[in-house]
Protein backbone atom coordinates (compact mmCIF):
# COMPACT_ATOMS: atom_id res chain seq x y z
CA UNK A 1 0.00 0.00 0.00
CA UNK A 2 1.58 3.24 -1.06
CA UNK A 3 0.62 6.63 0.23
CA UNK A 4 1.14 8.76 -2.81
CA UNK A 5 -2.37 10.13 -3.31
CA UNK A 6 -2.51 13.71 -4.50
CA UNK A 7 -3.56 15.69 -1.43
CA UNK A 8 -5.58 18.08 -3.55
CA UNK A 9 -7.72 15.44 -5.17
CA UNK A 10 -11.19 16.38 -4.03
CA UNK A 11 -12.82 13.54 -5.92
CA UNK A 12 -11.42 11.24 -3.30
CA UNK A 13 -12.89 13.17 -0.43
CA UNK A 14 -14.16 10.26 1.63
CA UNK A 15 -14.61 10.94 5.29
CA UNK A 16 -12.87 8.44 7.49
CA UNK A 17 -15.88 7.09 9.27
CA UNK A 18 -14.89 7.40 12.86
CA UNK A 19 -18.19 6.68 14.55
CA UNK A 20 -18.31 3.36 12.74
CA UNK A 21 -14.81 2.29 13.75
CA UNK A 22 -13.87 -1.04 15.18
CA UNK A 23 -14.69 -1.64 18.78
CA UNK A 24 -12.02 -2.56 21.27
CA UNK A 25 -13.01 -6.21 21.17
CA UNK A 26 -12.82 -6.45 17.41
CA UNK A 27 -9.40 -4.91 17.27
CA UNK A 28 -8.07 -7.58 19.63
CA UNK A 29 -6.87 -5.21 22.27
CA UNK A 30 -6.41 -6.38 25.77
CA UNK A 31 -6.21 -2.93 27.40
CA UNK A 32 -9.38 -1.35 28.75
CA UNK A 33 -8.86 1.80 26.63
CA UNK A 34 -10.01 1.88 23.03
CA UNK A 35 -7.28 1.83 20.45
CA UNK A 36 -7.46 4.92 18.25
CA UNK A 37 -4.44 4.42 16.03
CA UNK A 38 -3.01 1.09 15.04
CA UNK A 39 0.10 0.90 12.95
CA UNK A 40 1.07 -2.33 11.28
CA UNK A 41 4.45 -2.79 9.59
CA UNK A 42 4.81 0.81 8.52
CA UNK A 43 7.88 1.37 6.36
CA UNK A 44 8.98 4.74 5.05
CA UNK A 45 11.57 5.54 2.42
CA UNK A 46 12.92 8.95 1.48
CA UNK A 47 14.23 8.13 -1.96
CA UNK A 48 16.59 5.23 -1.29
CA UNK A 49 16.90 6.02 2.39
CA UNK A 50 14.93 3.56 4.50
CA UNK A 51 13.76 5.88 7.27
CA UNK A 52 11.37 3.62 9.18
CA UNK A 53 11.37 -0.16 9.38
CA UNK A 54 8.32 -2.26 10.27
CA UNK A 55 6.76 0.02 12.84
CA UNK A 56 3.83 -1.60 14.62
CA UNK A 57 2.15 -0.02 17.61
CA UNK A 58 -1.25 0.72 19.10
CA UNK A 59 -2.09 4.12 20.48
CA UNK A 60 -4.86 4.19 23.10
CA UNK A 61 -7.60 6.79 23.40
CA UNK A 62 -7.43 9.85 25.68
CA UNK A 63 -3.85 9.34 26.68
CA UNK A 64 -0.45 10.78 25.94
CA UNK A 65 1.82 8.59 23.88
CA UNK A 66 5.39 9.84 23.71
CA UNK A 67 7.88 8.96 21.04
CA UNK A 68 11.48 9.39 22.03
CA UNK A 69 14.81 8.63 20.47
CA UNK A 70 17.96 10.23 19.15
CA UNK A 71 17.93 12.67 16.21
CA UNK A 72 17.25 11.02 12.90
CA UNK A 73 15.63 7.93 14.44
CA UNK A 74 12.41 8.49 12.52
CA UNK A 75 10.09 9.48 15.37
CA UNK A 76 8.90 12.63 13.58
CA UNK A 77 8.60 10.67 10.34
CA UNK A 78 6.29 8.22 12.07
CA UNK A 79 4.21 11.08 13.50
CA UNK A 80 3.82 12.45 9.97
CA UNK A 81 2.62 9.06 8.76
CA UNK A 82 -0.41 9.36 11.02
CA UNK A 83 -1.84 12.41 9.22
CA UNK A 84 -0.09 11.67 5.93
CA UNK A 85 2.00 14.84 6.00
CA UNK A 86 4.70 12.76 4.34
CA UNK A 87 2.55 12.88 1.21
CA UNK A 88 3.75 16.46 0.80
CA UNK A 89 7.33 15.28 0.35
CA UNK A 90 7.83 14.16 -3.24
CA UNK A 91 10.44 11.51 -2.50
CA UNK A 92 8.67 9.98 0.51
CA UNK A 93 7.08 6.55 0.12
CA UNK A 94 5.01 4.88 2.82
CA UNK A 95 4.12 1.19 2.97
CA UNK A 96 2.07 -0.71 5.50
CA UNK A 97 -1.22 -0.17 7.24
CA UNK A 98 -2.09 2.57 9.65
CA UNK A 99 -5.64 2.62 10.88
CA UNK A 100 -7.54 5.45 12.54
CA UNK A 101 -10.36 3.80 14.47
CA UNK A 102 -10.25 0.84 12.15
CA UNK A 103 -10.02 2.71 8.82
CA UNK A 104 -6.72 2.36 7.01
CA UNK A 105 -5.64 5.90 6.25
CA UNK A 106 -3.49 4.63 3.38
CA UNK A 107 -6.47 3.15 1.56
CA UNK A 108 -6.85 4.58 -1.93
CA UNK A 109 -10.23 6.10 -1.09
CA UNK A 110 -8.90 8.15 1.83
CA UNK A 111 -8.44 11.84 1.13
CA UNK A 112 -5.48 13.17 3.11
CA UNK A 113 -7.18 16.56 3.40
CA UNK A 114 -10.17 14.94 5.11
CA UNK A 115 -7.83 12.87 7.28
CA UNK A 116 -5.95 15.94 8.48
CA UNK A 117 -9.23 17.51 9.54
CA UNK A 118 -9.58 14.63 12.01
CA UNK A 119 -5.98 14.66 13.13
CA UNK A 120 -4.67 18.00 14.38
CA UNK A 121 -0.99 18.82 14.42
CA UNK A 122 1.29 21.13 16.38
CA UNK A 123 4.76 21.71 14.99
CA UNK A 124 8.21 22.08 16.46
CA UNK A 125 8.54 25.76 15.62
CA UNK A 126 5.50 27.86 16.56
CA UNK A 127 3.89 28.72 13.23
CA UNK A 128 0.91 31.02 13.71
CA UNK A 129 -0.40 32.53 10.50
CA UNK A 130 0.37 36.21 9.95
CA UNK A 131 -3.22 36.95 10.92
CA UNK A 132 -4.94 38.08 14.10
CA UNK A 133 -5.13 35.78 17.12
CA UNK A 134 -8.86 35.40 16.47
CA UNK A 135 -8.38 34.57 12.79
CA UNK A 136 -5.71 32.01 13.63
CA UNK A 137 -8.11 30.12 15.88
CA UNK A 138 -11.03 30.21 13.44
CA UNK A 139 -8.90 29.32 10.40
CA UNK A 140 -9.65 25.60 10.60
CA UNK A 141 -13.35 26.23 11.15
CA UNK A 142 -13.47 28.44 8.07
CA UNK A 143 -11.65 26.13 5.68
CA UNK A 144 -13.59 23.15 6.96
CA UNK A 145 -16.88 25.01 6.60
CA UNK A 146 -17.81 24.45 10.23
CA UNK A 147 -20.60 26.77 11.38
CA UNK A 148 -21.10 27.82 14.94
CA UNK A 149 -20.60 30.63 17.36
CA UNK A 150 -17.04 31.54 16.44
CA UNK A 151 -16.66 33.95 19.36
CA UNK A 152 -17.51 31.19 21.76
CA UNK A 153 -15.29 28.62 20.04
CA UNK A 154 -12.38 31.07 20.09
CA UNK A 155 -12.87 31.69 23.80
CA UNK A 156 -13.17 28.00 24.63
CA UNK A 157 -10.20 26.97 22.51
CA UNK A 158 -7.98 29.69 23.96
CA UNK A 159 -9.09 28.76 27.47
CA UNK A 160 -8.26 25.11 26.89
CA UNK A 161 -4.89 26.18 25.53
CA UNK A 162 -4.36 28.23 28.71
CA UNK A 163 -3.92 31.40 26.68
CA UNK A 164 -7.26 33.17 27.09
CA UNK A 165 -6.37 35.37 30.05
CA UNK A 166 -3.25 36.64 28.33
CA UNK A 167 -4.88 37.55 25.02
CA UNK A 168 -8.59 38.17 25.66
CA UNK A 169 -8.14 41.95 25.32
CA UNK A 170 -6.19 41.78 22.09
CA UNK A 171 -7.81 39.06 20.02
CA UNK A 172 -7.52 41.18 16.90
CA UNK A 173 -3.82 41.82 17.16
CA UNK A 174 -1.42 39.76 15.10
CA UNK A 175 -0.57 36.29 16.38
CA UNK A 176 3.03 37.07 15.50
CA UNK A 177 3.18 39.71 18.25
CA UNK A 178 2.97 37.01 20.92
CA UNK A 179 5.97 35.47 22.66
CA UNK A 180 7.23 32.08 21.46
CA UNK A 181 5.44 30.17 24.24
CA UNK A 182 2.21 32.08 23.63
CA UNK A 183 2.51 31.45 19.89
CA UNK A 184 2.81 27.74 20.53
CA UNK A 185 -0.26 27.75 22.77
CA UNK A 186 -2.05 29.70 20.03
CA UNK A 187 -1.11 26.92 17.61
CA UNK A 188 -2.53 24.39 20.06
CA UNK A 189 -5.74 26.44 20.35
CA UNK A 190 -5.90 26.56 16.56
CA UNK A 191 -5.48 22.80 16.34
CA UNK A 192 -8.17 21.98 18.93
CA UNK A 193 -10.70 24.56 17.70
CA UNK A 194 -11.96 22.07 15.11
CA UNK A 195 -12.16 19.32 17.74
CA UNK A 196 -9.95 16.70 16.08
CA UNK A 197 -9.84 13.03 17.10
CA UNK A 198 -6.12 13.00 17.60
CA UNK A 199 -3.55 15.69 18.36
CA UNK A 200 -0.07 15.15 17.00
CA UNK A 201 2.72 17.21 18.54
CA UNK A 202 6.16 17.31 16.98
CA UNK A 203 8.60 18.45 19.69
CA UNK A 204 6.21 21.26 20.60
CA UNK A 205 8.40 22.67 23.37
CA UNK A 206 11.86 22.29 21.88
CA UNK A 207 12.03 25.89 20.69
CA UNK A 208 10.76 27.32 24.00
CA UNK A 209 12.28 28.48 27.28
CA UNK A 210 11.84 26.36 30.47
CA UNK A 211 8.83 28.31 31.77
CA UNK A 212 6.97 28.08 28.47
CA UNK A 213 7.97 24.42 28.21
CA UNK A 214 6.46 23.63 31.57
CA UNK A 215 3.22 25.42 30.57
CA UNK A 216 3.03 23.33 27.41
CA UNK A 217 3.65 20.15 29.38
CA UNK A 218 0.84 20.93 31.82
CA UNK A 219 -1.38 21.66 28.88
CA UNK A 220 -0.59 18.37 27.16
CA UNK A 221 -1.59 16.43 30.27
CA UNK A 222 -4.88 18.31 30.48
CA UNK A 223 -5.60 17.86 26.78
CA UNK A 224 -5.22 14.11 27.15
CA UNK A 225 -8.48 14.08 29.11
CA UNK A 226 -10.32 14.81 25.88
CA UNK A 227 -7.88 14.01 23.12
CA UNK A 228 -5.58 11.27 22.06
CA UNK A 229 -2.21 12.99 22.10
CA UNK A 230 0.85 11.67 20.31
CA UNK A 231 3.94 13.68 21.14
CA UNK A 232 7.44 13.48 19.75
CA UNK A 233 10.13 14.72 22.09
CA UNK A 234 13.87 14.52 22.36
CA UNK A 235 13.58 15.30 26.04
CA UNK A 236 13.36 12.07 28.04
CA UNK A 237 12.36 13.79 31.27
CA UNK A 238 9.50 15.38 29.42
CA UNK A 239 8.32 12.02 28.12
CA UNK A 240 8.58 10.56 31.62
CA UNK A 241 6.64 13.44 33.14
CA UNK A 242 3.70 13.71 30.78
CA UNK A 243 3.17 10.47 28.88
CA UNK A 244 1.21 7.33 29.64
CA UNK A 245 2.91 5.24 26.98
CA UNK A 246 6.35 5.63 25.50
CA UNK A 247 7.75 4.40 22.23
CA UNK A 248 11.54 4.32 21.93
CA UNK A 249 12.90 4.66 18.42
CA UNK A 250 16.58 4.10 17.91
CA UNK A 251 18.93 4.90 15.08
CA UNK A 252 18.06 3.07 11.91
CA UNK A 253 14.38 3.84 12.11
CA UNK A 254 13.21 0.97 14.23
CA UNK A 255 10.84 0.91 17.13
CA UNK A 256 12.81 -0.86 19.80
CA UNK A 257 10.34 -0.82 22.64
CA UNK A 258 6.80 0.38 23.25
CA UNK A 259 5.21 0.08 26.64
CA UNK A 260 3.81 1.94 29.62
CA UNK A 261 6.01 4.94 30.31
CA UNK A 262 6.77 3.79 33.84
CA UNK A 263 7.93 0.40 32.60
CA UNK A 264 10.13 1.95 29.91
CA UNK A 265 11.88 4.25 32.34
CA UNK A 266 12.13 1.89 35.29
CA UNK A 267 12.55 -1.53 33.82
CA UNK A 268 12.98 -1.60 30.05
CA UNK A 269 13.13 -4.96 28.33
CA UNK A 270 15.84 -4.00 25.90
CA UNK A 271 19.41 -3.31 26.87
CA UNK A 272 19.66 -0.74 24.09
CA UNK A 273 16.70 1.16 25.48
CA UNK A 274 18.20 1.06 28.96
CA UNK A 275 21.49 2.36 27.61
CA UNK A 276 19.68 5.16 25.81
CA UNK A 277 17.52 6.11 28.79
CA UNK A 278 20.47 6.15 31.14
CA UNK A 279 22.44 8.28 28.72
CA UNK A 280 25.05 5.71 27.70
CA UNK A 281 24.44 6.62 24.06
CA UNK A 282 22.20 8.69 21.92
Amino acid sequence: MTGTNDPTNDEMLVETDVSDGLSAAESSVTDDADIVIESEDINVWYGDDHALTDISMEIPENSVTAMIGPSGCGKSTFLRCINRMNDLIDVARVEGNLTLRGKNVYDDDVDPVALRRRVGMVFQKPNPFPKSIYDNVVYGLKIQGIDGDYDQIVEESLKRAALWDEVKDRLHESGLDLSGGQQQRLCIARAIATDPEVLLMDEPASALDPVATSQIEDLVEELAEDYTVVIVTHNMQQAARISDKTAVFLTGGELVEFDDTQKIFENPESQRVEDYITGKFG
Partner: protein
Protein backbone atom coordinates in the same frame (compact mmCIF):
# COMPACT_ATOMS: atom_id res chain seq x y z
CA UNK B 1 57.03 38.40 21.03
CA UNK B 2 58.47 41.29 22.99
CA UNK B 3 56.36 44.09 24.40
CA UNK B 4 57.68 46.54 21.78
CA UNK B 5 56.65 44.26 18.93
CA UNK B 6 53.18 43.87 20.40
CA UNK B 7 52.78 47.63 20.73
CA UNK B 8 53.82 48.16 17.11
CA UNK B 9 51.61 45.35 15.92
CA UNK B 10 48.47 46.49 17.71
CA UNK B 11 48.76 50.08 16.48
CA UNK B 12 49.30 49.34 12.82
CA UNK B 13 46.15 51.18 11.67
CA UNK B 14 45.31 48.85 8.79
CA UNK B 15 42.16 50.82 8.08
CA UNK B 16 44.09 53.75 6.67
CA UNK B 17 46.71 51.78 4.82
CA UNK B 18 47.15 53.15 1.26
CA UNK B 19 45.61 50.10 -0.38
CA UNK B 20 42.56 50.28 1.87
CA UNK B 21 42.12 53.97 1.17
CA UNK B 22 42.44 53.43 -2.56
CA UNK B 23 39.89 50.64 -2.78
CA UNK B 24 37.50 52.47 -0.50
CA UNK B 25 37.68 55.59 -2.68
CA UNK B 26 37.16 53.54 -5.82
CA UNK B 27 34.03 51.88 -4.51
CA UNK B 28 32.74 55.18 -3.23
CA UNK B 29 33.19 56.80 -6.65
CA UNK B 30 31.32 53.97 -8.35
CA UNK B 31 28.44 54.32 -5.92
CA UNK B 32 28.48 58.11 -6.21
CA UNK B 33 28.25 57.94 -10.00
CA UNK B 34 24.62 56.81 -9.97
CA UNK B 35 23.68 59.46 -7.44
CA UNK B 36 25.38 62.18 -9.47
CA UNK B 37 23.71 60.99 -12.67
CA UNK B 38 20.27 60.98 -11.08
CA UNK B 39 20.77 64.43 -9.59
CA UNK B 40 22.02 65.81 -12.92
CA UNK B 41 19.00 64.48 -14.78
CA UNK B 42 16.59 65.84 -12.22
CA UNK B 43 18.44 69.17 -12.23
CA UNK B 44 18.32 69.35 -16.02
CA UNK B 45 14.61 68.50 -16.06
CA UNK B 46 13.82 71.16 -13.51
CA UNK B 47 15.91 73.95 -15.06
CA UNK B 48 14.78 73.29 -18.62
CA UNK B 49 11.14 72.81 -17.61
CA UNK B 50 11.16 76.03 -15.63
CA UNK B 51 12.17 77.90 -18.81
CA UNK B 52 8.89 76.65 -20.29
CA UNK B 53 6.53 78.26 -17.82
CA UNK B 54 5.76 81.98 -17.69
CA UNK B 55 5.81 81.74 -13.90
CA UNK B 56 9.45 80.69 -13.68
CA UNK B 57 11.01 81.67 -17.01
CA UNK B 58 11.98 85.21 -15.89
CA UNK B 59 13.93 83.67 -13.01
CA UNK B 60 15.93 81.71 -15.53
CA UNK B 61 16.52 84.86 -17.57
CA UNK B 62 14.54 83.52 -20.50
CA UNK B 63 12.68 85.94 -22.68
CA UNK B 64 10.18 85.11 -25.39
CA UNK B 65 7.34 82.63 -25.57
CA UNK B 66 6.27 80.83 -22.42
CA UNK B 67 3.31 78.74 -21.33
CA UNK B 68 0.97 79.15 -18.41
CA UNK B 69 1.53 76.52 -15.69
CA UNK B 70 -2.17 76.15 -14.86
CA UNK B 71 -3.10 75.85 -18.54
CA UNK B 72 -0.40 73.24 -18.95
CA UNK B 73 -1.58 71.14 -16.03
CA UNK B 74 -5.31 71.43 -16.69
CA UNK B 75 -5.52 71.86 -20.46
CA UNK B 76 -6.91 68.96 -22.45
CA UNK B 77 -5.65 69.94 -25.89
CA UNK B 78 -2.11 69.18 -27.02
CA UNK B 79 -1.48 70.94 -30.30
CA UNK B 80 2.07 72.13 -30.80
CA UNK B 81 1.41 74.08 -33.96
CA UNK B 82 -1.31 76.17 -32.35
CA UNK B 83 0.80 76.44 -29.18
CA UNK B 84 -1.69 74.58 -27.04
CA UNK B 85 0.11 72.59 -24.40
CA UNK B 86 -2.53 70.85 -22.32
CA UNK B 87 -0.71 67.93 -20.74
CA UNK B 88 -3.93 66.29 -19.54
CA UNK B 89 -4.43 65.02 -23.08
CA UNK B 90 -1.15 63.12 -22.75
CA UNK B 91 -1.71 62.08 -19.12
CA UNK B 92 -5.11 60.64 -19.98
CA UNK B 93 -3.52 58.47 -22.66
CA UNK B 94 -0.78 57.33 -20.29
CA UNK B 95 -3.41 56.56 -17.64
CA UNK B 96 -5.33 54.47 -20.15
CA UNK B 97 -2.31 52.37 -21.03
CA UNK B 98 -1.48 51.98 -17.34
CA UNK B 99 -5.01 51.12 -16.34
CA UNK B 100 -5.63 48.81 -19.30
CA UNK B 101 -2.35 46.96 -18.93
CA UNK B 102 -2.93 46.60 -15.16
CA UNK B 103 -6.26 44.88 -15.76
CA UNK B 104 -4.43 42.32 -17.88
CA UNK B 105 -1.10 41.97 -16.11
CA UNK B 106 -1.97 42.05 -12.41
CA UNK B 107 -4.35 39.07 -12.28
CA UNK B 108 -2.40 37.07 -14.86
CA UNK B 109 0.92 37.87 -13.21
CA UNK B 110 -0.28 36.87 -9.73
CA UNK B 111 -1.93 33.72 -11.05
CA UNK B 112 1.30 32.82 -12.82
CA UNK B 113 3.25 33.45 -9.63
CA UNK B 114 0.89 31.25 -7.60
CA UNK B 115 1.23 28.48 -10.15
CA UNK B 116 5.03 28.73 -10.22
CA UNK B 117 5.43 28.97 -6.46
CA UNK B 118 2.76 26.54 -5.24
CA UNK B 119 1.64 24.18 -7.98
CA UNK B 120 4.28 23.76 -10.67
CA UNK B 121 6.40 20.62 -10.78
CA UNK B 122 10.13 21.20 -11.11
CA UNK B 123 9.86 20.30 -14.82
CA UNK B 124 7.05 22.80 -15.41
CA UNK B 125 9.01 25.47 -13.59
CA UNK B 126 12.12 24.81 -15.64
CA UNK B 127 10.08 25.45 -18.78
CA UNK B 128 8.04 28.40 -17.57
CA UNK B 129 10.70 30.48 -15.87
CA UNK B 130 12.93 30.82 -18.96
CA UNK B 131 9.85 31.50 -21.10
CA UNK B 132 8.93 34.39 -18.81
CA UNK B 133 12.49 35.68 -18.88
CA UNK B 134 12.45 35.64 -22.68
CA UNK B 135 9.13 37.50 -22.61
CA UNK B 136 10.79 40.13 -20.42
CA UNK B 137 13.77 40.36 -22.77
CA UNK B 138 11.95 41.00 -26.06
CA UNK B 139 12.79 44.53 -27.31
CA UNK B 140 9.80 46.76 -26.67
CA UNK B 141 9.65 48.00 -30.27
CA UNK B 142 8.94 44.41 -31.25
CA UNK B 143 5.95 44.45 -28.91
CA UNK B 144 4.79 47.61 -30.67
CA UNK B 145 4.84 45.94 -34.06
CA UNK B 146 3.23 42.86 -32.59
CA UNK B 147 0.35 45.07 -31.44
CA UNK B 148 0.11 46.86 -34.77
CA UNK B 149 0.23 43.90 -37.15
CA UNK B 150 -1.27 41.15 -35.01
CA UNK B 151 -3.35 42.36 -32.07
CA UNK B 152 -5.16 45.22 -33.81
CA UNK B 153 -6.28 43.08 -36.81
CA UNK B 154 -7.45 40.43 -34.35
CA UNK B 155 -9.37 43.06 -32.37
CA UNK B 156 -10.95 44.31 -35.58
CA UNK B 157 -12.81 41.01 -35.82
CA UNK B 158 -14.63 41.93 -32.62
CA UNK B 159 -14.65 45.72 -32.98
CA UNK B 160 -14.92 46.48 -36.74
CA UNK B 161 -14.48 50.25 -36.32
CA UNK B 162 -11.37 50.12 -34.16
CA UNK B 163 -8.62 52.48 -35.35
CA UNK B 164 -5.32 51.27 -36.77
CA UNK B 165 -3.73 52.95 -33.79
CA UNK B 166 -5.75 52.32 -30.66
CA UNK B 167 -5.33 52.27 -26.90
CA UNK B 168 -6.72 48.77 -26.53
CA UNK B 169 -3.93 47.05 -28.45
CA UNK B 170 -1.37 49.29 -26.75
CA UNK B 171 -2.80 48.35 -23.34
CA UNK B 172 -2.85 44.65 -24.17
CA UNK B 173 0.71 44.62 -25.42
CA UNK B 174 2.05 46.64 -22.48
CA UNK B 175 0.09 44.30 -20.22
CA UNK B 176 1.79 41.27 -21.76
CA UNK B 177 5.11 43.06 -21.42
CA UNK B 178 4.76 43.62 -17.66
CA UNK B 179 3.37 40.16 -16.77
CA UNK B 180 6.88 38.75 -16.24
CA UNK B 181 7.69 41.56 -13.83
CA UNK B 182 4.54 40.97 -11.74
CA UNK B 183 5.01 37.21 -11.90
CA UNK B 184 8.67 37.09 -11.01
CA UNK B 185 8.59 39.60 -8.12
CA UNK B 186 5.38 38.09 -6.75
CA UNK B 187 6.82 34.61 -7.03
CA UNK B 188 9.92 35.66 -5.12
CA UNK B 189 7.67 37.02 -2.39
CA UNK B 190 5.60 33.82 -2.29
CA UNK B 191 8.64 31.55 -2.26
CA UNK B 192 9.96 33.55 0.68
CA UNK B 193 6.89 32.63 2.75
CA UNK B 194 8.22 30.10 5.27
CA UNK B 195 7.27 26.51 4.62
CA UNK B 196 6.13 26.20 8.25
CA UNK B 197 3.07 28.28 7.38
CA UNK B 198 2.13 25.95 4.53
CA UNK B 199 2.67 22.96 6.81
CA UNK B 200 0.42 24.58 9.42
CA UNK B 201 -2.27 24.98 6.78
CA UNK B 202 -2.00 21.45 5.43
CA UNK B 203 -1.91 20.14 9.00
CA UNK B 204 -5.29 21.80 9.57
CA UNK B 205 -6.75 20.00 6.58
CA UNK B 206 -6.41 22.86 4.13
CA UNK B 207 -6.44 22.12 0.41
CA UNK B 208 -3.74 23.40 -1.89
CA UNK B 209 -6.14 26.14 -2.95
CA UNK B 210 -6.79 27.13 0.69
CA UNK B 211 -3.07 27.30 1.37
CA UNK B 212 -2.20 29.26 -1.78
CA UNK B 213 -4.93 31.85 -1.54
CA UNK B 214 -5.55 31.99 2.20
CA UNK B 215 -2.03 31.72 3.58
CA UNK B 216 0.68 32.26 0.98
CA UNK B 217 -0.84 35.20 -0.91
CA UNK B 218 -1.76 37.20 2.23
CA UNK B 219 1.67 36.52 3.73
CA UNK B 220 3.35 37.69 0.52
CA UNK B 221 1.08 40.70 0.07
CA UNK B 222 3.72 43.38 0.52
CA UNK B 223 5.89 41.81 -2.18
CA UNK B 224 2.90 41.39 -4.47
CA UNK B 225 1.93 45.05 -4.03
CA UNK B 226 5.51 46.08 -4.74
CA UNK B 227 5.42 44.08 -7.95
CA UNK B 228 2.21 45.89 -8.93
CA UNK B 229 3.69 49.32 -8.35
CA UNK B 230 6.93 48.52 -10.15
CA UNK B 231 5.03 47.04 -13.09
CA UNK B 232 2.74 50.06 -13.25
CA UNK B 233 5.76 52.37 -13.19
CA UNK B 234 7.11 50.39 -16.08
CA UNK B 235 3.80 50.75 -17.93
CA UNK B 236 3.78 54.51 -17.32
CA UNK B 237 7.34 54.88 -18.60
CA UNK B 238 6.99 52.41 -21.47
CA UNK B 239 7.85 54.22 -24.68
CA UNK B 240 8.53 52.29 -27.86
CA UNK B 241 5.55 49.95 -27.77
CA UNK B 242 3.06 52.74 -27.19
CA UNK B 243 4.78 55.00 -29.72
CA UNK B 244 4.21 52.36 -32.34
CA UNK B 245 0.81 51.08 -31.26
CA UNK B 246 -1.10 53.95 -29.63
CA UNK B 247 -0.87 56.52 -32.40
CA UNK B 248 0.47 60.00 -32.92
CA UNK B 249 -2.62 62.10 -32.49
CA UNK B 250 -3.00 63.66 -29.05
CA UNK B 251 -6.55 63.40 -27.85
CA UNK B 252 -8.12 63.71 -24.43
CA UNK B 253 -10.02 60.53 -23.66
CA UNK B 254 -11.82 59.37 -20.54
CA UNK B 255 -9.79 56.41 -19.19
CA UNK B 256 -12.88 55.04 -17.43
CA UNK B 257 -14.95 54.88 -20.58
CA UNK B 258 -14.36 51.52 -22.32
CA UNK B 259 -15.22 52.99 -25.73
CA UNK B 260 -12.21 55.32 -25.44
CA UNK B 261 -9.91 52.36 -25.83
CA UNK B 262 -10.94 51.86 -29.45
CA UNK B 263 -9.41 55.21 -30.33
CA UNK B 264 -5.81 56.23 -30.65
CA UNK B 265 -4.13 58.83 -28.43
CA UNK B 266 -0.70 60.07 -27.49
CA UNK B 267 0.80 58.96 -24.17
CA UNK B 268 3.40 61.23 -22.55
CA UNK B 269 6.37 59.10 -23.58
CA UNK B 270 5.18 58.88 -27.18
CA UNK B 271 4.69 62.65 -27.23
CA UNK B 272 8.30 63.08 -26.14
CA UNK B 273 9.50 60.80 -28.93
CA UNK B 274 7.41 62.78 -31.37
CA UNK B 275 8.93 66.05 -30.15
CA UNK B 276 12.45 64.66 -30.36
CA UNK B 277 12.07 63.21 -33.84
CA UNK B 278 10.09 66.14 -35.22
CA UNK B 279 11.63 69.28 -36.72
CA UNK B 280 11.50 71.35 -33.57
CA UNK B 281 14.32 73.76 -32.94
CA UNK B 282 16.43 73.79 -29.83
CA UNK B 283 15.47 76.59 -27.48
CA UNK B 284 11.91 76.92 -28.80
CA UNK B 285 8.77 76.52 -26.78
CA UNK B 286 7.99 73.06 -28.17
CA UNK B 287 11.51 71.94 -27.31
CA UNK B 288 11.10 73.08 -23.72
CA UNK B 289 7.71 71.40 -23.43
CA UNK B 290 9.65 68.16 -23.78
CA UNK B 291 11.23 68.79 -20.40
CA UNK B 292 7.95 69.84 -18.86
CA UNK B 293 6.42 66.48 -19.88
CA UNK B 294 9.55 64.72 -18.65
CA UNK B 295 9.24 66.41 -15.30
CA UNK B 296 5.59 65.39 -14.93
CA UNK B 297 6.51 61.81 -15.86
CA UNK B 298 9.34 61.86 -13.36
CA UNK B 299 7.10 63.17 -10.58
CA UNK B 300 4.50 60.46 -11.30
CA UNK B 301 7.04 57.63 -11.16
CA UNK B 302 8.63 59.17 -8.07
CA UNK B 303 5.23 59.13 -6.35
CA UNK B 304 4.78 55.49 -7.40
CA UNK B 305 8.14 54.64 -5.87
CA UNK B 306 7.24 56.36 -2.62
CA UNK B 307 3.92 54.48 -2.51
CA UNK B 308 5.74 51.22 -3.20
CA UNK B 309 8.17 51.89 -0.39
CA UNK B 310 5.37 52.77 1.99
CA UNK B 311 3.33 49.71 1.07
CA UNK B 312 6.32 47.41 1.42
CA UNK B 313 7.03 48.81 4.88
CA UNK B 314 3.43 48.90 6.02
CA UNK B 315 2.50 45.36 5.02
CA UNK B 316 5.81 43.61 5.49
CA UNK B 317 5.38 40.50 7.61
CA UNK B 318 8.16 39.50 9.92
CA UNK B 319 7.96 35.78 10.40
Amino acid sequence: MSTDDLEADLTRNTENAPRELLTRSFFFLCAALSVVTTLSIVGLLITEASKFFSLTAPLMGVAGETANLVDFLTGTTWQIHSKEFGVMALISATLMVTFGSAIIALPLGVATAIYLSEYASPQARSLLKPALEILAGVPTVVYGFFALIYITPALRVVFPDIGTFNMLSASIVVGIMIIPMVASISEDAMSAVPDELRQAGYGMGATKFDVSTGIVVPAALSGIFSSFILALSRAIGETMAVTVAAGAQAKFLNPLNPASYLEGALPMTAAMVQLLTGDITGGGLAYRSLFAIGLVLFVITLIMNIISDFVARRYREVY
